[in-house]
Amino acid sequence: MNGHFSKLLLITWAILAFSCKPNLILTEVKTNNLTVAENSSLLDSQIVFQYLPFKNILEKDMKRVISFSEKEMVKGRPESGLTNLLADLVLEEGQKEAVRLNLQIEPVVSFFNYGGIRTWLPKGEITVGKIFELMPFENEMVFIQLTGTQLQQFYDIVASKGGDSVGGVRFVISNGKAKNIMIEGEMLDSASIYWMVTNDYSASGGDDLAVFTQRLKLITSGKKIRDIIISNFEGRKIRGVNLTETLDGRITNE
């Protein structure tokens, strides 16, 4: 009895539901990209209250001024103030570190991957927080030994990307390849062996640099790239030297 009744109810419901159901038609799509800016909206105080205790912990550490930049430095290709500064800094600190660790190696070139540079340096005071934004990754400085042929392959990759953050080298981009590669004032010799300073992400082949995984040797430093940048900048501040832009034409387009 009960079963019959519910079946009947179900059928009635089904007839009613389906007979009356209109088509559902997508008639219009309206698309917008809204700017998330002061003039479009206030801050949700509930969210601010939720992160405030964390912000306070961070701010104490982050607002320390470690350097002063004479210009705003933005990354760009084939070269730029920022990419050159970072590649040169890593080379200089890598050379010092090699001596400190008594590695008996002489790094002559450096690479600071373009994609890993996550912001720009503003003109004026540079804080610890800014370096965290610039280099948020916990990447470590490493040394890799490459053959001249591998180095040529690497610079060809750089050339195909239109330039990158490289130090200790000069070359010309010609038809997407690196031409006239000069290292320490001499033409790159495919039969020679070179030491490069870079980071562990690139050394492990990150950003399509599989050529680095074929390196002859790898030595880790145990030092974080970010810590190296911070101490280098602080060193300049102590010596009273501001950050300046060096555009020396290390990579040019033919």
Partner: protein, 308 residues
């Protein structure tokens, strides 16, 4: 006809966040329903608005501002969904100090409905994801990453269906190839499958088997590349049933969303909201309950067709 014009104006008002709740309330119980899909990508732990530096974006973004904007849109239209297309982790000291946990906790408070996984979610390995995941009250939808042989087995749905006002919105998620982009040890035994192949499985599954009215893809593939590399634009052109591709990875700033022709010749929306929460994408799908046949009336920024 008049009424449809009114809706358009109402939506334009919401775009500027200047109008009150009137338009949607007036339409309650009418033959129109709007599903609003809002989205971000590549937040990279930008909890606070951007600090100085590059002039015109200073002060932009911030989860608290995104939250307020979403609240206001939801007040006007409760049928609003909020998605993120990945790369939530890494990018400010908040990540170095508090890892992904704080970000996921805050995004949950903002009311995100779903996200997909970006390559930077792997920055602290599978362990990094496992340790912070408890803070997320929304799912990470991953259709082409298979975590079965990892510590993250069964943590992520391959798809999810949201129902709003009787309308079914099916969502699938596509991640980028990890090899070469993420250190091997950081993704371990995660299996990556071809995104296009996955999309071609997911869209009929959601559209026909689950009778979704809308099919949305959350993608961290990137907007477009030179050459044949799989991207959102390739995906849009090669699929037939996906209505919206919400992208990330390339941090692409789009003046307005892209409307592309899909493989079936219908229109598909492809969008990306720059990065760091500077932009909030908002796509409104207006449905009409009618006994009339399918209408086709496409104009700029509006697409028609796609009968459910």
């Amino acid at each position: 006809m008049n009424r449809r014009g009114f809706i358009r104006n109402g939506l334009a008002g919401i775009a500027g966040l200047s109008l009150g709740a009137a338009p949607f309330n007036l339409l309650a119980g009418s033959d129109f329903t709007t599903i609003s899909i809002m989205h971000t990508n590549d937040l990279h732990c930008h909890i606070e608005p951007l600090s100085g530096g590059s002039g015109n974006v200073a002060g932009h973004g911030g989860l608290a501002r995104i939250s307020e904007m979403v609240k206001r849109v939801k007040a006007e239209n409760p049928n609003t969904l909020l998605f993120d297309a990945g790369d939530i982790f890494q990018g400010t000291p908040y990540y170095n100090y508090f890892k992904g946990e704080l970000m996921l906790q805050l995004m949950s408070a903002v009311g995100y409905d779903a996200a997909t996984m970006g390559n930077h979610e792997f920055d602290d390995g599978l362990e990094g994801i496992a340790e912070s995941l408890h803070a997320a009250k929304f799912p990470f939808i991953c259709s082409n990453y298979d975590f079965s042989n990892t510590m993250l087995a069964d943590k992520f749905p391959r798809w999810k269906i949201f129902k709003r006002d009787g309308i079914k919105i099916g969502v699938y998620g596509l991640g980028i190839e990890l090899k070469g982009l993420v250190a091997n040890k950081n993704f371990g035994n995660t299996i990556y499958s071809d995104p296009l192949k996955t999309a071609l499985e997911m869209e009929p599954f959601l559209k026909f088997e689950h009778k979704c009215d809308l099919v949305v893809c959350l993608s961290h593939l990137g907007l477009r590349y030179r050459g044949n590399k799989i991207s959102d634009m390739v995906l849009a052109a090669e699929t037939s049933l996906t209505d919206l591709v919400i992208g990330g990875h390339t941090h692409s700033f789009l003046e307005k969303p892209i409307i592309e022709k899909n493989k079936a010749g219908n229109q598909v929306v492809v969008n990306q909201a720059a990065s760091y929460g500077r932009v909030l994408g908002k796509i409104d799908f207006v449905f009409e309950r009618t006994k009339k046949k399918r209408k086709v009336a496409a104009t700029e920024n509006k697409i028609a067709g796609n009968e459910a």
